[in-house]
């Protein structure tokens, strides 16, 4: 066995010293969420580290829509999913086309668009909530899910364009020239060469936009109000409208709401790998 030097030990110790508090700090709220969700209503606030009578009853109530606040649970979950996926897809379409046009076709004004995209991040999204509300009102889109989809697209697109443009710049330009000489039109170049090579970045950006929309509360709360239109995130907020909020149900729903993003992340993580362009050009 290799002797362990004092230096290795101290390095490990230092890492653990930082790592353990961070881990506890991160997991504690999640554990609390979990604890609430498996506790019976009476003992939810008992402050135990593990409930005396753990139960799945809360989940049964949630899935069965057997509470006033949960009467549209499945529909709201569907709304969240629909909106998140639509935002993810639309953001990908807009950002990919923009990045391709700016980075590969080198259209005029591309730089200006990039600068504007960056500029949008000087203004916090919350500042734009009221103007956005007014704009959507002007278009007659209030309480329509398209309002939220478009708003989230507006927020997600600049960053996505920026990231995808940077990623496209890394693709060797000779590939475009080779495809051009092989007889590819810009659209064929886009479809047959650009998109396959951009897949890892596209998955990353699609996931980003999807999760951004899934987790959005402020805009969803502002732009949607009908119980049949809102997302589950807003519905969760509504739990707190009453004085005696059913915390155990809120937490159970919250746990369910947190699972899809985690699942999405783990499913797509393996696609977000580099190395796809290996072998294209001598580097």
């Amino acid at each position: 066995m290799k002797p362990i030097s004092l230096r290795t030990v101290t390095t490990e110790a230092k890492l653990l010293l930082i790592g353990i508090p961070v881990l506890v700090w991160t997991l504690l709220p999640v554990y609390n969420l979990f604890l609430f969700s498996i506790s019976p209503k009476e003992s939810a606030f008992a402050g135990n580290l593990w409930p005396d009578h753990p139960t799945l009853h809360n989940f049964a109530v949630v899935f069965g829509e057997k509470h006033y606040y949960l009467s549209h649970f499945w529909l709201q979950l569907w709304n969240s999913l629909l909106i998140a996926v639509t935002v993810g897809v639309l953001t990908l379409i807009v950002a990919t086309c923009a990045a391709f046009a700016i980075s590969r076709l080198k259209v005029k004004g591309g730089r200006a668009v990039m600068n504007l995209a960056l500029f949008t991040y000087f203004i916090p999204a919350a500042f734009l909530a009221v103007p956005m509300y007014k704009t959507m009102g002007n278009y007659g889109l209030l309480n329509n899910q398209w309002a939220l989809i478009l708003a989230m697209l507006t927020i997600a697109a600049p960053y996505s364009i920026w990231v995808l443009k940077q990623a496209s710049d890394k693709l060797p330009y000779e590939l475009d020239e080779a495809a051009k000489m092989d007889g590819a039109s810009p659209l064929q170049l886009f479809r047959l060469v650009y998109l396959p090579l951009m897949t890892p970045s596209l998955v990353a950006i699609g996931t980003y936009a999807l999760l951004l929309a899934w987790n959005e509360y402020l805009y969803a709360f502002l732009l949607l109000s009908n119980d049949r239109q809102i997302t589950l995130g807003v519905a969760l907020g509504n739990f707190l409208a009453a004085d005696d909020s059913p915390w155990e149900l809120l937490m159970a729903t919250g746990l369910i709401y947190a699972l899809p993003p985690a699942a999405i992340y783990y499913v797509f993580k393996r696609y977000m790998v580099g190395g796809l362009t290996a072998g294209a050009v001598k580097s």
Partner: protein, 359 residues
């Protein structure tokens, strides 16, 4: 197969002119090499022929048809890039078939042409592989295969061997040449390696600063360089050049270098008193007795035996001279020797213009 004609071709990037009115013809089936130092405009010229760069002025014609405003894909040319530019997400077979698929060729035709190209290039075992699974030489061959399947009028090569190691480069050089002899397709080949140019070309275009310095067959350029640039660019080791003044007396002449060394002129041209650059290739010098008549006195500084031949570095007056001999002379650094010049092999250039003085 086709001829290519450049007429007064110019190229500017913004206000910077990089190609200054170039005109020459490439004959049907010819292997033409554009050679020159980095930044001489050879790649730009090739890219203009390929349709990847706009032509600022003048015309380029393929088979008599002016292609200035014709898109790359309609010029019926295929190009092999320096970096190979293979599609990394496609197999070797798909890489080669890509252009034919875009042209909506029949599956049978694609299959036929691909197997032919794969056979020529020994790529048959690799058709299902991805570029990342291939070695540099194999990737280079796939890039060539991609060009071959198209059966184009003209092949363009943009420094295709510069990414390969020295041994592979020599092998691929021979392969490309054999390929050309087999297919007899007009080929334009860009390189900055004059050895590649010499060994592969039917004719060479030597370029410098966006201008053509000389066009000719490899040996023509070697034996009769039109100017000082070509003289020094073509040939390895490079031609020795000594600056001096022509002195003529009793029918013979010599060039008197600035430090007073007399270099025999033979029958070469040039007027008495003219300032010239005197050129002699390393293999046209030989060692002789320091006291022999007409011997140029020199001192050996470095001896470099390579086995087949020996390269000597000498100091003759102010000039550094290289001498190549097939023998293995018993000399040491510091020895004082005489250099015998083959008078018929002397090149004389005007010192101001650099142009060769006609004999």
């Amino acid at each position: 197969m086709a001829s290519v004609t450049f007429s007064n071709v110019e190229k500017s990037f913004g206000s910077t002119k990089v190609i200054h009115g170039i005109g020459f013809d490439i004959r049907d089936g010819e292997f033409m090499v554009l050679v020159g130092p980095s930044g001489c405009g050879k790649s730009t010229l090739l890219r203009m022929l390929a349709g990847l760069e706009e032509i600022s002025a003048g015309t380029i014609a393929i088979d008599g048809r002016v292609v200035n405003d014709v898109e790359s894909k309609d010029r019926d040319i295929a190009m092999v890039f320096q970096s190979y530019a293979l599609y990394p997400h496609m197999t070797v077979a798909d890489n080669m078939a890509f252009s034919l698929k875009l042209r909506k060729a029949q599956a049978k035709v694609i299959q036929e042409r691909m197997s032919r190209a794969a056979k020529i290039l020994n790529l048959e075992p690799y058709l299902a592989r991805y570029p990342r699974e291939l070695s540099g030489g194999q990737r280079q061959r796939v890039a060539m295969g991609r060009a071959i399947v198209r059966d184009p009028k003209v092949f363009l090569f943009d420094e295709p061997l510069s990414n390969l190691d020295a041994k592979l480069r020599v092998a691929m050089r021979a392969e490309i040449k054999a390929l050309h002899q087999r297919l007899k397709t007009t080929t334009v080949y860009v390189t900055r390696d004059q050895v590649e140019a010499m060994t592969m070309a039917d004719r060479i275009v030597v370029m410098h600063d966006g201008r053509v310095e000389q066009i000719g067959t490899p040996l023509d350029l070697y034996d009769h360089p039109g100017n000082l640039f070509v003289a020094q660019f073509i040939g390895s080791p490079a031609m020795n050049v000594v600056e001096g003044t022509i002195k003529r007396e009793n029918g013979t002449g010599h060039v008197l270098s600035h430090s007073g060394v007399r270099w025999p002129l033979g029958a070469a041209a040039g007027a008495e008193g003219q300032s010239v650059a005197y050129g002699i290739r390393p293999e046209h010098l030989s060692l002789t007795d320091a006291k022999a008549p007409a011997a140029v006195p020199a001192e050996i500084t470095v001896v470099e035996p390579t086995g087949a031949e020996t390269e000597l570095l000498l100091q003759a007056g102010e000039a550094q001279i290289v001498l190549v001999t097939h023998g293995r002379p018993q000399v040491n650094p510091g020895d004082r020797v005489g250099l015998a010049v083959e008078p018929a092999m002397v090149h004389v250039f005007d010192q101001k213009t650099g142009q060769r003085l006609a004999a």
